[in-house]
């Protein structure tokens, strides 16, 4: 098989892998579109925001601020809410070494929490590739853009999509993907510690800070435990 055909095949695999998450994306997309109309967006404004910004949580928060504050606070908040992607980007970076700058740039463009989780778990299982990553990015992206536009077109004509518990789709998917990383007790401890910190953080910290704090502290604790274990064995 040629290199291009292989990449196309991998792209399709990534696209398909994003499919089970679609109900969750659609529920949030519809909600986003409805909210966008309420702050005075046209359906095209809503689509443009999704396509240009492509960051779900930040878009919701921006809509909440839209008629209240100016441009600077909205952009600054977007930056803060998305800081967690620094951590995600760092952890996926070792797998992307050797790719061309163009590939790296396009993979970073539409990386979402969901497509990151799908791709890093695939890499962990030895089934990941840049084609798969791009496929997952585009799969989540297409669903997000389309559902946001539809939500804005329908306005309040549809029932509240969160009524069906579809906000649970993402945590369930993350749970399924988390299993690939629980190879030993050390990783299990890291996940447990990070989960606990995230619970505390979600209660006491604003926005998405809990992901950054729990991600940094959890992974650092893992490295520390690994060092302690190594010294222990040596002595």
């Amino acid at each position: 098989m040629t290199r291009e055909a292989e990449t196309v095949r991998e792209f399709r695999r990534g696209l398909l892998a994003a499919l089970p998450l679609a109900p969750g994306v659609i529920a949030f997309g519809l909600l986003y579109g409805m909210m966008a109309r309420q702050v005075g967006f046209t359906s095209w404004d809503a689509l443009a925001m999704s396509f240009i910004v492509h960051a779900g949580s930040a878009q919701f928060i921006a809509l909440g601020m839209w008629n209240v504050t100016g441009a600077a606070p909205i952009i600054l908040t977007t930056l803060v809410v998305n800081l967690r992607h620094l951590l995600m980007g760092a952890s996926v970076a070792p797998y992307l070494r050797g790719l061309s700058p163009l590939w790296k740039a396009s993979l970073a463009l539409w990386m979402s929490d969901e497509s990151y989780a799908l791709s890093i778990a695939a890499y962990e299982r030895g089934e990941g590739s840049h084609g798969y990553f791009l496929g997952a990015n585009v799969g989540v992206g297409l669903t997000w853009w389309a559902s946001g536009w539809v939500g804005a077109v329908l306005g309040t004509a549809i029932p509240d999509p969160t009524r069906y518990g579809l906000e649970l789709v993402f945590p369930l998917a993350f749970l399924g993907l988390l299993m690939a990383f629980l190879k030993d007790r050390l990783h299990l401890a890291v996940a447990g510690f990070a989960g606990l910190l995230a619970l505390l953080g979600a209660h006491f910290l604003p926005g998405k800070w809990y992901v950054i704090v729990a991600g940094l502290a959890g992974s650092s604790a893992g490295l520390l435990l690994e060092e302690v274990k190594r010294r222990w064995k040596k002595s």
């Binding site: 952009i75 992607h85 760092a90 952890s91 799908l118 518990g165 945590p171 990070a194």
Partner: protein, 101 residues
């Protein structure tokens, strides 16, 4: 027009957070850094799950979401399959909703 400018500003800072590390950590990295990064996915994914399952409304509660996540965790552990995890967890959520828990 002003809208588009704000969108572009939001896109710029978002892209900064996504591409910085991918671009910076492109070449050789210190072994310690690489070992640390190996723990990041488990920590980040657990951080994304815990509050949504155990405190969906901001307060700690053992509600429908927690039971759905518990069953989801068992299915995820046994099958390692994302689709089954989602379907199983959602099924528990809907059943508990219907019987009024």
């Amino acid at each position: 027009m002003e809208k588009i400018l704000i969108f572009l500003g939001m896109a710029l800072v978002t892209y900064f957070t996504r591409c910085t590390m991918i671009a910076l950590l492109g070449r050789e990295m210190p072994p310690l850094l690489r070992r640390w990064l190996r723990y990041v996915p488990a920590a980040v994914l657990a951080a994304l799950v815990a509050p949504a399952a155990l405190a969906p409304r901001g307060q700690l509660e053992l509600g429908v979401q927690a039971w759905a996540a518990l069953v989801g965790a068992v299915i995820a552990w046994r099958t390692r399959n994302v689709l089954w995890t989602i379907l199983g967890g959602m099924a528990v959520f809907w059943i508990l909703r219907v019987i009024g828990l």
